[in-house]
């Protein structure tokens, strides 16, 4: 008797769970019974899928407050008419994919976004096109979210008038991959975001920074392209950052940096490519950081390292075609510059081990002079300056004696 009751109970449980698992798919669209996404969300229960057919939808602030999978077919357009936040995700386990979202509202107090995630986890936002919005994708207090393959365009002119492409705040375990961002204030913005991966994104022509992060520990940035941004990439107040195989290109202007590092520690910057930036890498207050196997090509300054940096190891990098290799503001050097390739190296290699026999001093006299005395920049590229630099190379007197490469490579390192 007892066993048969148990069997019956088990069967009952099985049936119940089956009915829960049998989530339905709701079709919405101009030619469907359900005409709008808002209606479809109202009608759905957690676990359902919604498919929205293409068309143009004017819906004021769509709130997704159930665990739904929402997919757009052939990029249905949702227009915020420059008045509303368009999609607000307020439930866990939401998938939102395949939409074209246009023209979110502008407000400085509430920061409306095309897609905003509030205090949830396990969200996937993928394959959307976001056009002309204030903020593109905004995640606050999100955990374990994926932002994949979105295209985010904006046409900002002034910093104050436009938000960030992908803005993440106080979040954890994010994956941001394959996105294309242009024309925003910052392409990707991280503040208090931990344990996240930014992989294979392209961030171009943003007004301020291509990537901007602060207080975001233990994050990895791999194989991204940051090109032609107003001020390049800025990284501040963070430890345990890993930046591998990124491209920092054409960030050219009076205050532009390929990569600006401020108060960074225990980090790895490896195998990146810095080309045509006013300053390739600018370092201030950086400690215990490895900068290895990078290519620094055709920058104004390849490296600017302030005297506040400690234990920075720069090894096996290629320095080619830069106007200045290294600039610094003091004579104290607690960093290691050994085993790089410098195209301006003029030493010799008697035993042919491809390691130069005399140390290389990467700081030119003129770069020291203008660091102390900027108006002397008026002599930039004059003949006297090049003569001074030549003499200083032979007999260093003003440039820091310790800032040198003891084992410079005589051939370009194959990276």
């Amino acid at each position: 008797m007892k066993s048969s009751t148990l069997k019956f109970f088990n069967l009952f449980l099985f049936l119940i769970s089956f009915s829960i698992l049998q989530a339905k798919t709701i079709y919405a669209g101009k030619n469907q019974k359900i005409k709008s996404l808002t209606k479809a969300i109202e009608y759905a229960v957690a676990g359902d899928s919604i498919i929205l057919y293409s068309g143009k939808y004017f819906e004021k602030n769509i709130v997704i407050n159930k665990a739904l999978t929402i997919i757009g077919k052939n990029f249905p357009v949702i227009d915020g008419e420059k008045k509303y936040e368009i999609i607000s995700i307020k439930s866990d386990n939401v998938v939102f994919s395949g939409f074209k979202i246009k023209r979110s509202g502008y407000a400085t107090l509430t920061d409306p976004a095309a897609i905003k995630v509030y205090n949830t986890k396990n969200i996937t936002i993928s394959n959307n096109i976001i056009d002309d919005s204030f903020f593109g994708i905004y995640i606050q207090y999100g955990t374990n979210c994926k932002i994949l393959n979105n295209k985010i365009y904006a046409y900002g002119i002034e910093e104050q008038q436009i938000g960030n492409g992908i803005h993440c705040w106080k979040s954890d375990s994010l994956i941001i991959s394959g996105n294309y961002i242009s024309g925003h204030r910052d392409g990707i913005y991280f503040e208090f975001v931990t344990n996240s991966v930014i992989w294979r994104n392209i961030s171009k022509k943003n007004i301020r920074y291509g990537l901007h992060f602060m207080f975001s520990h233990n994050d990895s940035y791999i194989a991204n392209v940051f090109e032609n941004n107003g001020a390049g990439v800025a990284v501040m107040f963070t430890n345990k950052v890993k930046m591998y195989n990124n491209y920092f290109l054409n960030n050219w202007g009076d205050a532009a940096y390929g990569l600006l590092l401020k108060e960074i520690s225990d980090s790895y910057i490896e195998a990146n490519y810095f080309s045509s930036n006013t300053i390739g890498i600018y370092m201030e207050g950086v400690s215990r950081t490895f900068i290895r196997k990078n290519t620094l090509d055709k920058n104004g300054w390849a490296i600017k390292i302030q005297a506040s940096c400690i234990d920075v190891s720069m090894n096996n990098n290629n320095f080619t075609g830069n106007s200045f290799d290294v600039g610094t503001n003091g004579s104290l050097v607690l960093n290691n510059f050994n085993s790089n390739y410098w195209d301006k190296y003029e030493g010799y290699d008697l035993n042919h081990d491809k390691i130069g026999d005399v140390p290389y001093h990467p700081i030119s006299l003129f770069s020291m002079i203008i660091e102390k005395n900027p108006p002397a920049m008026i002599l930039f590229r004059s003949i006297m300056v090049s003569l001074l630099d030549k003499t200083e190379r032979l007999i260093p007197s003003i440039t820091p004696e310790n800032l040198k490469d003891n084992t410079p490579h005589t051939r370009k390192i194959n990276l």
Partner: protein, 255 residues
């Protein structure tokens, strides 16, 4: 006057130095543009050439030329000719041939590789620099009859404009480092035509971004149309003034 000018130019062309100069400039400029991987870098190296070699050749060639034609000048003076027209014809002949040499040697490669306003400005400033240094050498020659001394003065003047002046500017910027001296430095630089033309060109190239705040101040004053007009006016003054003084002295000179 035109007849004397014609004689001077024919004489200069006949001694073949100017032709060698054209060939030399052409070869170097072409080489520089081919060596650098982008034409902007090529223009930068050409700038160094213009600032260093063009003044040197102009000043030395014209000094020696004037000393060597002293007998010709004496002959002309025995004719019923105004001293002014003789002196100006000499100046015109020298400047025309050197400007022509510069434009043929450097201008053509620049127009081939970098034909924009910056390139044109470089050609223009190179041409003006040639004229300025002809004018300076004429001033040097009227002050001494001793050929060696005259050439010495010319070379010293060139050294002053190409190197010593910059050293003095560096010294001044260090002495007054605590003051906002960007504008002062800018004014001081207009006392040297070589510096002035270097800054005009630099501000138009990508490299000007390296000049930071100082560069921004310079650009505010020199980067505008008015700034360029003013600085070219200063450059033109730089050949008119020495020429005027040399002419004044030549008129009264006891030959």
């Amino acid at each position: 006057m035109n007849k004397i000018l014609k004689y001077v130019i024919l004489d200069i062309i006949r001694n073949k130095i100017v032709l060698t100069y054209i060939f030399f400039l052409f070869l170097i400029t072409l080489g520089v543009f081919n060596l650098e991987d982008n034409s902007s870098k090529g223009l930068l190296s050409t700038l160094n050439l213009v600032l260093f070699i063009v003044p040197l050749v102009s000043v030395i060639f014209s000094t020696i030329y004037i000393y060597n034609s002293s007998e010709f000048i004496e002959l002309l003076l025995s004719q019923p000719l105004k001293r002014k027209s003789i002196w100006l014809s000499l100046f015109n002949g020298l400047s025309l041939s050197l400007v022509f040499a510069f434009i043929a040697g450097t201008g053509i490669p620049i127009l081939i590789y970098h034909a924009d306003i910056t390139g044109l400005l470089l050609i223009l400033s190179g041409a003006i620099l040639s004229v300025i240094f002809v004018s300076i050498s004429m001033l040097a020659t009227v002050y001494t009859r001793d050929k060696a001394k005259g050439i010495g003065i010319s070379i010293l003047l060139w050294l002053y404009f190409a190197l010593v002046f910059d050293g003095l500017v560096l010294f001044v910027t260090f002495q007054f480092a605590d003051y906002p001296i960007e504008k002062l430095v800018l004014i001081v630089s207009s006392f040297n035509p070589v510096d002035l033309s270097r800054i005009i060109i630099l501000l138009r190239l990508d490299d000007s971004a390296l000049m930071g705040y100082t560069g921004a101040v310079f650009r505010e004053y020199l980067g505008t149309g008015i700034g360029i007009t003013v600085s070219f006016t200063v450059l033109i003054m730089w050949f008119i003034v020495p020429l005027y003084f040399s002419l004044k002295r030549f008129k009264k000179m006891d030959l």
